[in-house]
């Protein structure tokens, strides 16, 4: 009886200690910190399509002296070429969209939006063995692009800006 109890406890411990990250198509799900550390993006799945929105910003409001936005106010998508979109908050903004799992830890056919310029790029995601996510944005063909390395945000709960 003791042995059974011990085995049950061991199994529960192992299950709790195991990484919560799924393999295969859903391995990309979760919260990721962007290369510059200024934002976190939560990647979710809708049907077979993967996309991610900004869930945390290092600097969620315009700083004092900022000429582009109103100091103290939440950042909005001022650089969007579509004027109707320029008032949408950066927090919650869908940064990457439309990805399909292409196999071998690659998600392709998606796009990544750059709020700093208002530009949209083609994008491919690759989950590396070291746990990082290589985000390749490009115009035209993938060869002419640049890769950013995002890191998985380890905390189970994503802090809100007010908690930072």
């Amino acid at each position: 009886m003791r042995a059974i109890r011990f085995i049950c406890c061991l199994l529960i411990y192992v299950a709790a200690a195991a990484p919560a990250y799924a393999d295969g198509p859903d391995g990309v799900l979760g919260v990721w910190t962007t290369a510059d550390g200024k934002a976190r993006v939560e990647i979710v799945k809708q049907g077979d399509i993967y996309g991610g929105s900004i869930v945390w910003l290092k600097e969620p409001v315009y700083p004092a002296g900022n000429k582009q936005g109103t100091p103290g106010q939440p950042k909005v998508d001022l650089n969007n070429p579509d004027k109707a979109q320029q008032s949408r908050p950066i927090m919650g903004l869908p940064l990457i969209q439309g990805f399909k799992y292409a196999g071998d830890d690659v998600w392709s056919d998606g796009t990544i939006y750059d709020p700093d310029s208002g530009k949209l790029y083609s994008c491919k995601l690759t989950l590396m063995m070291d746990g990082t996510l290589r985000v390749r944005g490009y115009v035209g063909i993938s060869l002419f692009g640049r890769t950013e390395i995002w890191t998985r945000y380890a905390s189970e709960s994503t802090p809100t800006p007010a908690q930072q």
Partner: protein, 222 residues
């Protein structure tokens, strides 16, 4: 037991590769930085001990000289029969060998020197001096050279009559750089020696005509 044989085999393979391919020391590599999670698992490397992984990393570092080989990598051709058997590769399934060969092929190709970019346009006539820019030629040279020392933008002009872009347009700048339209789209204008700004953005280079505010993504080809 079969798994143990496979691991011993991988170690033996690493030793053979290290011994048979004489190689100059290279930057240390870690296969965990080189493979995706799937590749890692498919090759059975997730079962290796830290010591085995260290040995494998050392040997992966040392086989870059094989990049000169043409075609897909095939361990059956790289190793002798005895070496192949000594490495235990004959105990692997066909899928595992294929996975290992597939990864090795991709890795070795990635080690090959970057091909020289051959311009597809006529040589640019010599220009007496840059019109507006004194920025070094490294800007935009992502396909030609290192990014080191790049500037964030250049302010220069297009020589001669400029009629806009139509999808495949080549822009010859006064600073002798040549850029090509990287995205679809058309824009018509009629300007003589227009000022242009090329700015490095997050994932590409954007050419702007300050006079009109029109923009187009470009890549540098010369």
């Amino acid at each position: 037991m079969k798994r143990l044989h496979m691991h011993i085999g991988i170690l033996a393979l690493a030793s053979i590769l290290a011994g048979s391919v004489a190689i100059a020391a290279d930057q240390p590599k870690d296969v965990r930085d080189l493979m995706t999670a799937n590749q890692y698992r498919n090759a059975g490397l997730d079962k290796l001990s830290a010591g085995e992984m260290a040995a494998l990393n050392a040997d992966i570092t040392s086989i870059s000289i094989l990049a000169a080989a043409n075609g897909p990598a095939n361990l059956e051709n790289i190793l002798t029969g005895d070496q192949y058997r000594a490495a235990g590769l004959d105990t692997l399934s066909a899928d595992q060998v294929a996975a290992l060969n597939g990864w090795l092929t991709g890795y070795l190709r990635a080690q090959e020197p970057t091909a020289t970019v051959t311009p597809t346009i006529p040589a640019v006539p010599a220009v007496a001096a840059p019109a507006a820019s004194t920025v070094p030629g490294s800007f935009g040279g992502v396909m030609l050279q290192s990014n080191a020392g790049e500037y964030d933008s250049i302010d220069t002009s297009i020589k001669g009559l400029f009629l806009g872009w139509n999808g495949e347009t080549v822009f010859t700048l006064a600073n002798r750089q040549v850029w090509k339209q990287a995205e679809s789209g058309e824009y018509s204008t009629h300007l003589q020696d227009p000022e242009v700004i090329i700015k490095k953005l997050r994932f590409g280079y954007l050419l702007t005509l300050p006079g009109s505010g029109q923009t187009v993504f470009v890549i540098r080809i010369q």
